[in-house]
Amino acid sequence: MSILIALILLPFLFAAVVPPLYKYVRCIHTGWFVLAVPVVLFVYFLSCIPVIQGGEQLAAEIPWIPSRGIYFSVYLDGLGLLFALLISGIGALVVLYSIYYLSKSKEAIGQFYVYLLIFMGAMLGVVLSDHLMVLYGFWELTSISSFLLIAFWHKRERSRYGAKKSLMITVLGGMALLCGFIMLYIMTGTFSIREIIADLPSVNGHALFLPALLLVLLGAFTKSAQFPFHIWLPDAMEAPTPVSAYLHSATMVKAGIYLVARLSPVFAGQAEWFWLVSAFGMVTLLYGSLNAVKQTDLKALLAFSTISQLGLIMGLLGLGSAAAYYGIGGESLLYTTATTAAIFHLINHATFKGSLFMVAGIIDHETGTRDIRKLGGLAALMPVTFSIAAIGTLSMAGLPPFNGFLSKEMFFTAVLKTVHMDLFSLQTWGSLFPVIAWIASVFTFIYSMLLLFKTFMGKFQKDQWDRKPHEAPIGMLISPVVLASLVLVFGLFPNLLAYSLIEPAMASIMPELLAPGEKFVVSIQFWHGWTTELMMTFGVVAAGIGLAVSHKRWKGVYGRLPQVFSLNYLYDRGLGWLGLGSNRLTSGYMTGSIRSYLAYIFTFFILLLGYVLLRTPGIQFSINSTAPIAYYEIALVIALVLSTAAVPFARSRLTAIILTGTVGYLVTMFFIIFRAPDLALTQMIVETVSVSLFLLCFYHMPKLKKELSKLRFRLSNALIAAGVGLMVTLIALGAGGSGKFASIADFFVEESYKLAGGKNIVNVILVDFRGFDTLLEIMVLGIASLGIFTMIKLRLEGRDIGARVLYNKGELSLGAVNRDTASQEVTEAHEAYEAAVRAKEASMKGGQTGGQKQ
């Protein structure tokens, strides 16, 4: 097993060690042990950079279900390395932060780290898998571990709601993804991503290409919180802040981004892919930034900001996919800027959003609230936190000298280039992209400023807090400080990233643009002259400051939007309707009445068999092969039909029983006519017994509501009955008229005496040729008699049964009295019943002894 696979499995293995560590090593916070895992991973992945930079790939494979072609195969290329570094690096920082954030004594941190490690391992599995099914497995594992982490404080109702919502939406996407993957397999015959990319001609133009594209995108969009599916992310903020920082800003929500980037070589260059990815990304960008402004909770604001930034990255990937349309050449390289910007912003977003979430956690931890209406004036009290927050928000707003500025400039470059594109019937639509991008940037600027100033500036509202806020402990500050300094470092020296990570990542997103031996050259200039992009940034800052200052005046606009149009409302009501609808449906047809179920069964019988009869070719309803009919047979048939038809019209049940008996004896007559003496004998006796049993039941009918009227007529029942009768008749005629095979009866006739020594062929068949059936049938009889014996003799005593006995006797009425007296009466009745049972037993014993004496 290679070291790569061992490292992916490392978090899972360590997750198994965490509970005993938590239980037996109480003096040390379990997080310190856990910290080793991401650190080891991070160091390993760092050491891989030179190899990957040289254009190599690390790959490993162990068989899992070889007979089904499923291998646990992983590979590390530029894209995988980038994500693996993000996951392990931010993972280490988050674990460190959580050690100070979560209390050792008050929280179930054993569980927390188990979930977190499972998530970390699953996320690594997602980004390093080469096999689609393995990728899907890890994908669902991230959904499940995220579900567990969101509901970490499972005693809160909101946590459970958020966890359920995120699970439902991401698993919906996961299922779509699975279907998409299977379609990819059908098209190419392989599950390996690298082999699928190598086999592009069989994918393009295939009938399943578009469905697979749509399903894969559905999976990616739900995971990455793109526009209509973003609603789970704000509710997932009920999770502990380290979880929000890790899962919902840096890693899990980028799994969808990863998937789009990873499968870009397969789908990019198609108009559908370009339009869907970029349009959904842009809409999400705008929608998220507009909504972030109205949030009052720090984490909700950050959640909408995350949605918006993910939309930005997604949109850039969509725009970058246009490059694939042109293939190898100078023209395509013009449009790769978008992809570069996407990767660069992906890294930048992970750094500043992670630090901002940690800042929100610190503020929550130190002041007890995350509501920005209550916060203010914290800058002097918490200088370090304030500095981190300032770096993070300014980078998020896209201001120099932070890395957000660079990626925003590149974003503007990319959208401006789109205007000049003339493919996929872009035409004038292309000019929408810069407009949306600009508006969204303005709002991004506004919420960034609101976040910074409302929290740290203004008046210090002392009476709002029950504790005195002060600077966070050093340990809690380490992680955000590291992230914030990365923001600065990447901002000042962006080419550090460009050579090491971005170039290899682009090579794996757009391999088709590279001639063999070539590599992308990415050079990010901090100063690129007086360009349109810079003018746009000036515009953003100017408009942003103006709107942020006058924020109070136009804030009310958001309230005007009717609640009905919000997506959460639709989701909640949709779930409600779903539950209500299925409830109504079920209670509509599951009436609890046997009559309706019989109606369904018979109707189904008629429809299915009728359909089959109509559709099957070659069925003949011929009566040519029938025997001549004798006059006494006609007479018997008339008698039989008359007595059968009379049963439903009988006024009393006694008449009906007698008529049923008549039918039975007439059948005996038929057996005699058709020369079946054994059947006739048995039929006669069995009919006698069953009629007596019917009479027994009739005699013991309860006297409460005895009905002597005839059956009520129902048209539907009559129709169903007629239909079933017609259908059975048609089937019998069809079966008799169609081609037949020779009967095997001749064998029995010839061999009965020779082989079995019996002249009664029926009996020989019953006990010899097919004795096994008889053996089981007498067992059926035995079981029936035991059942009857048990039902009659076994009278289990119990509160319930005792009451029911008296209730049946009419001595107890539960309906008329109120509950208290009713239960009292039940108790009394039960006691009375028990006394009666005891008396009866005593008398029976006495009777028995008396009998013996006689």
Partner: protein, 141 residues
């Protein structure tokens, strides 16, 4: 004071023997003529029912101290055992055989293993029917 039906009881005393004999005839005749274990069992049961009607439950139980539940179980066991016995002779389950022997009075007589199987059927049917009828009639409301 129990009402006694002298006619019924007297007739029963004769009829029961005839019915019993007939039922046993039916049981053994089954191999060559109409009849067999099933009908034979039912007819024997009808003789017993006649006894129950003419006399009372307790007296019939005194003269025929049978546990009909066990009789049914014994019938099933006999049938299974006749099937299993064929395994001892290295033939498939439930293989039947027959042979002819010469008995002093009866002459050439056929002995068939299927009759033992039928006997099991007979006992099961009889036991089942009687269990049903007696347990229902003993049930006091």
């Amino acid at each position: 004071m129990k009402f006694t039906d002298v006619f019924l009881q007297t007739a029963t005393k004769t009829l029961v023997f005839i019915i019993m004999t007939f039922s046993i005839y039916i049981l053994f005749a089954g191999h060559h003529n109409p009849g067999g274990g099933f009908i034979g069992g039912l007819i024997t049961a009808s003789a017993l029912v006649l006894l129950y009607i003419a006399f009372d439950l307790q007296s019939v139980r005194d003269i025929i101290p049978f546990n009909f539940n066990k009789l049914a179980a014994a019938g099933v066991i006999i049938s299974v055992l006749t099937g299993t016995a064929s395994l001892l002779f290295n033939v498939p389950f439930l293989s039947q055989t027959f042979t002819y022997v010469y008995l002093p009075l009866l002459g050439k007589t056929e002995l068939a293993s299927a009759v033992i199987f039928d006997l099991g059927v007979y006992m099961t049917v009889l036991g089942t029917t009687m269990t049903i009828i007696t347990s229902i009639s003993e049930d006091e409301k």
